[in-house]
């Protein structure tokens, strides 16, 4: 996205964990239609094809059409793929925000309570915005996280101030703590989480003992 989204969004963690048993987050033809047009030609045209890697690599896989909904709203599709951005850049940003995160965490609990109250209205606003903005795409700012009891939730809940990563830029060291697999790239730690229907990595604090 090139401009600031009107319906700005932040991300929180919905702790959807079975242990808790509950959701934490909680033409020409008849009818006057033309049969002509560029797409009707079905031609590959004269442009050169661009090569690229398969899904999971260079190309983004989410967008409005991925939602397959008549309403025109997309699930996860509003967020353009961010894999092109340098991981290092975001990691730096993450570190710069480290001091802010503690405050965010403190704020998160309050935010979360408010979230529960406002969620439905927020989503309605989102839907309205989306209708107006016509998939202007781009990244949403990511905000404070939510902490819940279960291990995997706590792991993610401590740091969702950054958007999800679709790939890691290293061959990570993996550590399993409390049933959760942590992925380490340098000083950064990640766990896996669903985001918009796909499995992504989200940055977290190091597991206990690391």
């Amino acid at each position: 996205m090139t401009g600031a989204p009107r319906g700005a969004a932040v991300w929180v963690t919905a702790l959807v964990i079975a242990v808790a048993g509950d959701v934490a987050a909680r033409g020409g033809g008849r009818g006057g239609y033309s049969r002509g047009g560029a797409a009707a030609a079905g031609s590959f045209g004269q442009g050169r094809a661009t090569s690229g890697t398969q899904r999971g690599g260079y190309y983004g896989t989410q967008g409005p059409a991925a939602s397959g909904t008549f309403a025109g709203r997309s699930s996860g599709g509003n967020r353009q793929d961010t894999r092109h951005e340098g991981m290092e850049q975001r990691r730096e940003q993450y570190q710069q925000n480290a001091q802010q995160r503690q405050q965010q965490r403190n704020d998160a609990r309050e935010d979360w309570q408010n979230y529960g109250t406002n969620r439905r209205e927020d989503w309605q606003d989102y839907a309205d915005d989306h209708y107006d903005d016509h998939y202007d795409g781009g990244e949403y700012p990511y905000g404070a996280a939510v902490v819940a009891g279960a291990a995997v939730g706590a792991a993610v809940g401590t740091a969702v101030a950054t958007p999800p990563y679709w790939t890691l830029d290293c061959i990570p060291n993996t550590v399993v703590v409390g049933g959760t697999t942590y992925y380490q790239c340098g000083s950064a730690w990640y766990v896996r989480a669903y985001s918009g229907g796909d499995v992504a990595y989200t940055m977290v604090n190091p597991p206990t003992g690391y």
Binding site: V10, G32, Y33, A65, A66, Y135, Y194
Partner: protein
């Protein structure tokens, strides 16, 4: 002779302007066909269908890339559903709902997530998409409120033509929504179950399309409870779902 030809040409042009582009009654026929389809689907107590989907993803560069998947849907109303997805790259994932819990799994990533969500399939599907921000293409046609959802667009419905699709005679129907254009092919004979659906996101950059070919419709499938019971695959790890929180407009 030349004057006669000119006069005929003028008449022909005028005729083309004056004669309505759509024959009388075709709007009604298109709307009626859509309504019949929606009502039929909404009343089905159980069904299974295989949906071969393809969708465009417009890249940041503007390049349009197509992805696709096969979705095998099993629906036992009011509160059981299962969708198994195989993407073109071979990866397998799915969704199960047993009336109390939503479960999603990814066999290749060896992960799953579960959410407690007692209630109907309709509510679970809406929650899945609107609250959990997950993908569930064509969920509208799987919900019992499909006829009501279609009402707003019936006025724009038009019959494009009668077309052969997969050896079957179909009505090709188009309608416009607020942000999308939709086309459906509904068989002229037998049950009004859609054979093909194309949705164009006309307000999105690059106007990407979602296309689905629907087949293997079965309105009396054998759907035992066990089909909807989620059991994590051996070694699968439970992971959370990241949910977007929308800030209210100032």
């Amino acid at each position: 002779m030349r004057q006669t030809r000119g006069a005929l040409l003028v008449v022909a042009v005028l005729g083309a302007v004056i004669v309505p582009s759509t024959a009388p009654g075709e709007e009604n026929r298109a709307a009626a066909r859509l309504e019949a389809m929606a009502t039929f689907l909404a009343k089905a107590q159980r069904l299974s269908v295989t949906i071969d989907c393809a969708y465009d993803v417009v890249q940041d560069s503007g390049e349009k890339i197509e992805f696709g998947e096969r979705r095998v849907v099993a629906l036992r109303r009011p509160d059981h559903a299962r969708i198994d997805v195989t993407r073109r790259d071979g990866s397998r994932r799915g969704l199960l709902f047993d009336g109390t819990q939503l479960a999603v799994f990814d066999l290749d990533e060896k992960v799953y997530a579960t959410v407690s969500k007692p209630g109907t399939v309709d509510a679970a599907f809406d929650y899945f998409v609107n609250d959990l921000n997950m993908r569930l293409p064509l969920r509208e046609i799987l919900k019992t409120d499909f006829p009501r959802e279609l009402k707003d667009v019936l006025g724009s419905a038009r019959l494009v033509g009668e077309e052969q699709l997969g050896g079957a005679a179909t009505d090709h129907i188009a309608f416009r929504g607020h942000t999308t254009d939709a086309q459906l092919w509904i068989p002229r004979d037998g049950d009004p179950l859609p054979k093909r659906i194309v949705i164009t996101y006309r307000l999105a950059g690059g106007q990407p399309q979602f296309e689905a070919d629907l087949g293997a419709w079965n309105l009396a499938p054998d759907l035992p409870d066990t089909l909807f019971t989620f059991t994590p695959a051996a070694g699968a790890e439970q992971i959370p779902i990241l949910v977007p929180r929308r800030e209210k407009k100032p």
